[in-house]
């Protein structure tokens, strides 16, 4: 969307490595809905941040590991998810609604009212 901005941001060193969660992004007339798969992340280990036009989702996997467990095989090798999105201006970041259920984060980002489609009444006479 804005290459210059992204390049300058990449200069900032990101902390620990993280997995990129899979998402569905759906737009309708009134806003955008994001569904993100964050299996293993409880509510208190999830962080959502909006900085300017960037929305960042970060979550830590909390899995109960029995004492003395040795990893035998691992497809998920990093206990953290992180993903960031650049939002567009017509989205109202102050009114983001977030819900987390069974490891799926649902984010609803409404469009600002003036950006929503309107039907214009035609007066007769």
């Amino acid at each position: 969307m804005n290459d210059k901005q992204q390049v300058s941001r990449s200069g900032q060193a990101q902390a620990a490595p993280a997995l990129i969660p899979r998402v569905d992004v759906i737009e309708d007339d009134t806003g955008i809905t994001i569904f993100a798969d964050l299996p293993g992340v409880p509510k208190d280990r999830l962080a959502l941040r909006v900085e300017g036009e960037t929305l960042q989702i970060e979550g830590d996997i909390a899995s109960e590991m029995p004492e003395g467990m040795e990893a035998v095989y691992a497809e998920v090798q990093v206990p953290r998810y992180r993903r960031a999105f650049t939002l567009s201006r017509e989205l109202d970041t102050a009114k983001i609604d977030a819900g987390l259920k069974d490891g799926v984060l649902t984010l609803r980002i409404p469009k600002t009212e003036h950006a929503q489609p309107r039907r214009i009444e035609v007066r007769s006479g």
Partner: protein
């Protein structure tokens, strides 16, 4: 010890490839990607661990009702299967779908367990989208301290 039973070189390679694809699609890790960017992949991811008393299997299956996940143990094969529905109906013409990376449809994964597990001692818990299956090992297979008289 159990490595021979648990190494799936094909799957490992596949997972690495998926990760590379994802990284390619989004540039360096952590870099903000467009909210309308796209990527594809596999489901569910599985981690396996072992203790002297049990085999621990973690399956990353988010967004399911615990009653809709089937966990079966047949001899020494653990099968995890179920179905996940799509988040948005495709028929709805008023919506635009920018990313549909999340898995939808039927899934099934088989995990071969070591020979010393006891199929009668299996427990499964589902929490925050993470399925944790514990399969106990047979008493006779567990390490025992031998008393010296």
């Amino acid at each position: 010890m159990y490595e021979s039973l648990f190494t799936f070189p094909g799957l490992f390679a596949e997972f690495d490839r998926l990760q590379r694809d994802a990284q390619q699609a989004f540039g360096a890790l952590g870099l903000p990607s467009s909210i309308r960017a796209v990527a594809q992949g596999a489901f569910p991811a599985i981690n396996i661990g072992g203790t002297p008393a049990a085999v621990e299997v973690y399956a990353f299956v988010p967004g399911l009702d615990s009653t809709k996940i089937d966990v079966t143990v047949d001899r020494s094969v653990l099968m995890i299967s179920g179905q996940r529905s799509r988040s948005a109906s495709e028929e709805d013409s008023k919506i635009s779908v920018y990313a549909s990376e999340r898995f939808a449809g039927e899934f099934r994964r088989a995990i071969s367990l070591p020979d010393d597990v006891d199929p009668a001692r299996v427990t499964a818990r589902y929490r925050d989208g993470l399925l944790h299956v514990t399969i106990g090992r047979r008493e006779s297979a567990q390490p025992k301290r031998i008393q010296i008289n």
